[in-house]
Every structure is written in C-alpha cells, then in structure tokens.
C-alpha cells in the first residue's frame, strides 16, 4: 500500500519485538508501543498478557467482548518480572551503543542533576530479569549518546561485567521513528537492522551520536500487511492518536 504512514510502520515494527514470546506479560510504554502490543496480540502473538493500565489483565483490551482474565497488582507484577515472564518496551531519554538506558536524570552530578527525570523506576530490574526492547519516538543525537548520564536499564557491556547473575539479560529491538536497530553483532554493539521507507541511511547516521554498525546496504523495514493496517486503522486506533507520537510529514 502506498498510503502507509510512518506511524503505522513504527507500530508494525514495534509489534515484531513480541514475536515468538508466547504467554508472557507485554508491557508497552508509550502510545505507539501500546498499539503495537495489541496488534501483536490480535495477530501473531495471541498468548500475550495485556493490562488495563492498572492491575487487571484483559482478553482483548480494545474489543467489545473483552474480559478480565487475570489480576496482577504491582507486588505480583514484580514477581513476574523477576521470574522472567515479561517483555517490556520502555522509552529512553538517553541510550548508548550497548543499550544502556537513562530515565533517571540528566547531568554528570547525580547529587545535583541538570534535569531530574522520573527515576530509574523498574529499569534495572527489568533489564537484568527479562527481555527488554526500546521505543524512541524522536531519533536524535540527544537520545543516542556516547555515554548515558545514569545507567538505569543495563546494556550488554554492563550485563557482561555483572557476571552470571545477569544471564537473563536480553535486549531485543530498538525501534525509532527512523529505523529498527538491534544488537546482533559480535560484541553486541547496536546496528541498523532496517531503515523505514522514506528514510536514508545518512539521516539515521546523522541522528545517532555514536558510530552504528550495519550502515552499508541496510534492509527496508517491512510495511504492515493489509490485515495489520485494517486493525490499526479500524480497530485499534480509529481516532488516529498514533499521529501524535509520530506525525506524518506526508505519506511514504
């Protein structure tokens, strides 16, 4: 389809993060990841568990015929996090080449940060216990940095240094408004997995504050198929809220 928007490509790309996950909690942070997790559940990942934003888990969060199938308050959620039955897609204010993420504070003096953010939240525990992916709505050198100020979610270098206790660490995908990135390189540095239609590899390089791997002849991010598009437009997001997170400069 020629009228697919960037936001729709991002939703389909984010959904791919959960492919093959089976019966686990999918915890999407952000609008595009929330739509993506539902798309995955409605299509190729029916086993995913999705919450209503509080403690109830719903069979079909967007459907008319939806039922509470589980009750998982925060106490129990942490049990599942530490058990490994979850795959979170978090945001990041900063992310480095090994996937270290910062959501805590900006600035080099932790005792007097330039900007206090939300705090490390569950990022240290998430990343060391179960699969983690990231969604970055605004791919820029401010986010993709040489060194993050406060390592909240841990990257591959930190996980290696932590030894056997970090053996469940697994970063899957980093999806941005420009590209899909992963860590499928020998020393787990970030590489370009694919670039979105309408984006050039030069744009991705310029928007990244460190040297990416896989910059020669990257693949093109697949467009959502007809059924996925129908679901996004008619079932999941008929009001077009996806455009708020990834506005279309035009059709791709």
């Amino acid at each position: 389809m020629s009228d697919v928007t960037r936001a729709e490509i991002c939703i389909a790309a984010c959904a791919e993060a959960w492919r093959g996950d089976g019966e686990v909690i999918a915890s999407p942070m952000g609008r595009i990841p929330a739509l993506a997790a539902r798309l995955a559940k409605l299509t190729f990942a029916p086993g995913l568990m999705l919450s209503d934003g509080d403690a109830d888990y719903l069979t079909d969060p967007t459907g008319a015929d939806s039922h509470v199938e589980a009750h998982i308050p925060y106490r129990r959620l942490f049990d599942f996090v530490w058990h490994g039955s979850r795959h979170v897609m978090m945001g990041a204010s900063q992310l480095d080449r090994f996937g270290n993420q910062n959501i805590s504070a900006i600035g080099t003096d932790f005792h007097r940060p330039k900007a206090q953010l939300i705090g490390v939240r569950g990022a240290p525990g998430n990343t060391i216990n179960h699969p983690t992916s990231y969604w970055i709505a605004n791919h820029s050198p401010k986010v993709f940095v040489e060194k993050v100020d406060v390592v909240s979610g841990i990257g591959f270098d930190r996980a290696r240094a932590a030894g056997p206790a970090a053996r469940f660490h697994e970063l899957r995908l980093v999806v941005t408004n420009l590209a899909v990135l992963d860590f499928a390189t020998p020393d787990r540095r970030m590489r370009i997995r694919s670039i979105h239609p309408g984006v050039t590899v030069e744009e991705v390089i310029a928007a990244t504050g460190f040297a990416l791997e896989g910059t020669s002849h990257p693949a093109l991010t697949p467009q959502p198929d007809g059924e996925a598009l129908r679901l996004i437009r008619e079932v999941l997001d008929p009001k077009g809220t996806r455009e708020r997170e990834v506005p279309s400069a035009g059709r791709v």
Partner: protein, 260 residues
C-alpha cells in the same frame, strides 16, 4: 480492645524531626494527602521520606521538610514529572537514594521480616550501585556462587497510609485495584498510622469488599484517622478518582490547592 482513633493533628504531634517516614500509595494514587499536608504545614524538618513517589514527595520537598528522599520514581501519573521534586533535586537541596522499584519493595520486606537484607538482581550493573556506594553484594553460599545485590532493610520510624475503610481498632480495607505496598510499610515501621475514607463497625467491613481486601489488620496499626477525601487530589477509587484540576494547580505551584 484499644480504640485507636485519633486526629490528623494527633498523628503529626507524634512525629519528630529527623524521622524516617514511609508513605503508602503509588505515584498519584491513594496517597495519605491529609496527613502529608498536615506535615507540610507543621514545624517538622529533616525527614527521610520513603515512597513510591507522587505529590507527597513533591509537597514535602517544596515545604522544606525533606532531608533525604528514598524512592524508585516520583511521578504524578497524568503529569509525568513532579515539578517540586525536580526543583529540589536540581538545586541540590536534598539527599537521595534512588533504587529499582522492585528492590525498594525488597528493602521494606527485609525490614518487615527483621532481616538485614534480601538478595536480588535488580540494580546489579546499573548506576543504582554507583550512586548508592553503601550498597554491597552477597555471594550465594550454594553451588551456583552467584553474586547478587544485598538490598538492605529500610527501617521506618513511622508509616502513613490511606485506605478506603477501617474500624477503630485498625483493621483496614482497600477497595481499589491495588494495595500497592501499604501493608509492607506498616510491617516495616515502628509506628503505623492509617487514615481512611470512613471508619465503620468491624461487622460492616465485609459489606464493601471480600475478606481478601482486609490486607491491613490491627496488629499492624497504632492509629486510625477518619479523613474523608484524605487521599485527594490523588485517586482513591472507588470512592473517588484523581482530581486532575487540583493536581494541575498543585503542579503549577498552588501546593495546597483546594479540591474542585
């Protein structure tokens, strides 16, 4: 049995400068705001506040009550960041201990169980370890020999929580979606104060919710305060939702915004 009813002011009068105070709820949900507001308006100072942080942390920072904040996050939910907490941090006014939110639970649980620490992975490899240099690791004495974070017990001098219902003896009930960690705060503290929307007879407790909703009982409570609207402007469902207008006013600088 002891009638533990007291007023908001009675609770504040039992607190002392320099105490470590645990505050229940989560973000901008079921926070004991009547108690927090009274502390903010009192002469108390140098408090260490332990919280899944929301406007409780921000309000106490803005009124100069906080020496140290212990938290995993501070958020107002519908407003992602609390501007008063941010200001205190960015001006270097407070000490902090920022932990993974699951590790924070572990610290409270260790205190509740009278253990010095509990082992966890949550925090290993992250700057939680760098920024809290007092943290130590522990090596499993078993064959695996894993090195884990030894999350220290977080002992509280006082716990403040807000529940939907309670009787005058301290049996308390939550009716919303999540108890959060309110029962743990009570077990981790020397003195435990529960405010509630309504004090009812013990015989009436099960009219509103099942026995499973009685997560806090009188063994865990020293004082009960009836404070209708006592979580406002944070949410206290099913009694009321968050007052977004009042929260906006708070974030804009009107610390003690009247409920709309």
């Amino acid at each position: 049995m002891r009638d533990k009813r007291m007023s908001v002011d009675d609770v504040v009068a039992e607190l002392r400068d320099g105490m470590t105070v645990g505050i229940g709820g989560w973000g901008s949900r079921r926070k004991p705001m009547a108690l927090v507001t009274a502390i903010a308006k009192s002469s108390l100072k140098d408090l260490t506040v332990v919280s899944y942080g929301g406007p409780d942390v921000g309000m106490l920072c803005a009124t100069g009550k906080v020496r140290k904040a212990v938290y995993g996050f501070v958020s107002l939910d519908s407003i992602p960041l609390d501007p008063h907490f941010r200001k205190a941090r960015q001006q270097g006014e407070i000490e902090v201990a920022e932990f993974d939110e699951g590790a924070l639970q572990w610290g409270l649980y260790a205190a509740a169980l009278r253990l010095p620490f509990l082992p966890t992975r949550a925090g290993l490899g992250s700057d939680v370890v760098t920024n809290n240099p007092e943290l130590k690791t522990v090596t499993s004495p078993y064959e695996d020999g894993e090195e884990l974070l030894a999350m220290p017990a977080i002992h509280l001098d006082a716990a403040l929580v807000h529940m939907n219902r309670a009787d005058k003896f301290g049996n308390a009930q939550y009716l919303g979606p999540d108890i959060y960690f309110d029962d743990l705060y009570c077990l981790a503290a020397e003195k435990r104060y529960v405010s509630c929307e309504r004090i009812v007879e013990t015989s009436e407790l099960l009219a509103a919710g099942p026995p499973q909703s009685l997560k806090i009982n009188r063994m865990m409570v020293d004082g009960v305060v009836e404070a209708a609207g006592g979580a406002g402007f944070t949410s206290c469902v099913p009694d009321y939702g968050r007052d977004e207008a009042a929260q906006k006013a708070y974030a804009a600088g009107d610390l003690f915004a009247e409920a709309s």
